[in-house]
Assembly symmetry: C2
Homo-oligomer: 439 residues x 2
């Protein structure tokens, strides 16, 4: 199976766990059978591999998510990076061209496109496989997945099939109807549109050429910034008369808000939390090292991270977005391809962070124009390269770097350092990178 | 007026703002007319000074509170330090002996004893002055303050006067009756016992001699550990037939729980907090630098500090103690005589803290046997003394100190440093102090 996972989205609805560099799909919130925590993207990736160990998975995403994807899925996963944010049509176009021109998928082969964040079981990926197989054989140009609705929701799009067979031609689409209208559609056999579709690669490449004028990956990549912001639905699906829908009646949840997300938790808390006996239907997701004590709470969610603290009635939690937009969005925690960092303290002319490098990983070789830095290694072993000179470091070693100094660190074991940044107007943009030439 | 303020108490009921070194009286939670925040101890001290600028104030307390008292009230305040924790009788005995033998108060002079944490207005301290004046003249040996009850509480002690005059002989005491019994007592004119009493100094010194065998301050100090743990009520009041009570009908609140404390706040929050329009009767006290977002909360208190997060129904918040007892009580923030520190990160063999020294202040000259330390100055100017050598330091300077190195820092301006401690089993007990001989 060739599968493109669309990984987009900003992080406002699941604040404070999501932020500008950590969309909801990267929050480690689900407990695996082994008792470890995994994120939506890790869960989906694991499920695909279980159903189809040979699946060719490509994640279509933006630059800002690449580090987190490498951190969570390793460096072997296929990633197709948008040079800038457009919408789903350009993202799918680029990823399909990438599959053909970089990964060698033939134009006759089927491709399945799926969001990276549905909360589903393995039967869903079995259904994706069937969807791809159908797309390979069907005379239709697009085969959509239609999810059996569990209630007349006003927040989804509906696909209305021509007949009641499991695979049917599509009669029409209805985007976010009222609940009453939704109930009518469902009575007629309407299905939810979960944004999942399959096609033969050549079909989409031809549409891309017609719409954008670009015919291959390099062209699309170069002209990406000039592409119109348009969804795949509006750009392709709505203009295509020859579409099928295949029903799926298994478990499918859209965990877009705290309210829905906590329903998928296997216990009342992740992280340190204590509840008194008067608590009912309370979930705590606590990424801090200190405890959350809950007393007499009912139907609530509490979430704490280095970015802030949410305390919300569950139903109210879906209205979070406008409040979060007002906050100062300094990133306090981020996963990088080499590990993670957490901001410990922000001063007037300083910032202190804790840096954790995974064993065998390294930072980019870089320098800062306007700030000095001091590293104190607190744990592990590794090597620093400072202006070209390599040196062994271990817990207790201190490295001072004036502004302009080129520096990097390579972790031989897991390596933790306290980094104190000193300067006025400290910014992530004050960074020059180059590849080290000597190691 | 000679006044002894009893400053005791552990910090469990107002967790996470109070902790083992910060009892509730040190939490800065009240807004002054100037708009600044002050603690209970600062409020009471300011009120006493307003009513009686000449008042001789002595704070009877334990060693662990001395730094916080100096930090909040300056270094001029009289402090009588218990060598170890006993109960109120030994604490009062030591403070009374201190007043006579160290501060020169005569045996005929009246002394007023009062807890450090009532939430009151200035009329209360006018009443304390009258209480002292009465004690100087009265034939009674003890004059108690009796507070007019506002409801039949089961959690206070009651003083039942012989008659209804403002100053009356005491008929009997009733400790924490049922609410029904309390209502009966109140109908008979009973008053709350707020732990406030006055006496001529010589009377208590004589009782101290009879009970403990010690007759002066030095003797009490030396023999303090051998004194019985007994309250002043049980040790003295209950055995004294000649007691008066003086009524007080002004405002008096015992802010011992989050529920009562938030009633004294002048707005819904201290620190960063945002409330959506569905919140009702919610208070947030947030000592962290990041926001607390509250959505759809009713009758709740949220408090966040470096020690943890409390989210509680207000009524439930009075049952906090057993939960807090279970927590690991690592002190994450403390006020010291020279400034404050905050723990930023705790690693396996490291701890990172932010140290803030107030201008003109200095740490003790000290060393650690089992840990190395690294200071990175992030703000301000000062001088370090490292193994006897003084050096100017400013933002950006790094000082490394191997275990065994003697060190201190003197702040010429406000000085902030990131201190990384490195070693196994890092403990506050790993500290040797001596006074610097060269500065």
């Amino acid at each position: 199976m060739n599968i493109i996972l669309l990984s987009g989205g900003s992080g406002q609805r699941l604040w404070p766990l999501s932020n500008d560099v950590r969309s909801k799909q990267f929050i480690r919130i689900f407990r695996t059978e082994k008792g470890e925590l995994e994120s939506m993207v890790q869960r989906v990736y694991r499920q695909i591999r279980t159903v189809d160990p040979e699946a060719k998975v490509t994640i279509a995403t933006s630059k800002s998510q690449v580090s987190a994807i490498h951190n969570q899925l390793g460096s072997d996963v296929g990633i197709c990076v948008e040079p800038c944010r457009r919408d789903t049509f350009p993202a799918v176009a680029l990823a399909v061209a990438y599959l053909r021109d970089v990964r060698g998928v033939r134009e006759s082969e089927p491709v399945v496109v799926c969001p990276v964040d549905p909360y589903v079981e393995e039967d869903y990926f079995q259904a994706l496989k069937s969807l791809g197989e159908r797309a390979a054989l069907s005379e239709a140009n697009l085969v959509l997945m239609g999810i059996e609705p569990t209630y007349p929701s006003a927040k989804y799009g509906y696909i209305i099939p021509k007949d009641k067979k499991n695979i049917s031609k599509v009669s029409m689409f209805k985007e976010k109807p009222t609940e009453a209208a939704a109930a009518d559609y469902i009575a007629q056999g309407a299905l939810w549109n979960g944004g999942v579709f399959a096609f033969r690669l050549g079909y989409v490449m031809e549409r891309v050429r017609q719409i954008t004028g670009f015919a291959d990956y390099d062209g699309l990549l170069e002209g990406y910034h000039s592409l119109e912001k348009i969804s795949f639905d509006y750009g392709v699906v709505e203009h295509e008369p020859n579409i099928e829908v295949m029903g799926f009646s298994g478990m499918w949840k859209d965990l877009g808000t705290w309210n829905t997300l906590t329903e998928a938790m296997d216990g009342p808390n992740i992280g340190k939390a204590v509840f008194n006996e008067k608590c009912e239907n309370v979930h705590v997701i606590n990424e801090l090292d200190v405890p959350v004590l809950c007393m007499g709470l009912k139907n609530m969610v509490v979430s704490a991270s280095p970015e802030g603290i949410l305390v919300s009635d569950k139903e109210q939690s879906s209205y979070i977005k406008p409040f979060v937009s007002e906050f100062d969005h300094k990133v306090m925690y981020a996963e990088k391809s080499w590990g993670s960092f957490r901001v410990l303290d922000v001063g007037k002319s300083s910032m202190t962070i804790k840096v954790t490098l995974n064993p065998g990983h390294r930072m980019n070789y870089h320098s800062h124009q306007y700030r000095d830095e001091v590293w104190t290694v607190v744990c592990g072993e590794g090597r620093t390269i400072i202006d070209g000179t390599e040196k062994q470091v271990a817990a207790g070693d201190v490295v001072t770097m004036a502004a302009g100094t080129w520096h990097m660190v390579i972790a031989d074991t897991e390596l933790q350092m306290i980094e104190v940044q000193l300067g006025k107007d400290i910014s992530v943009y004050d960074k020059q990178k180059h590849e080290p030439i000597f190691c």
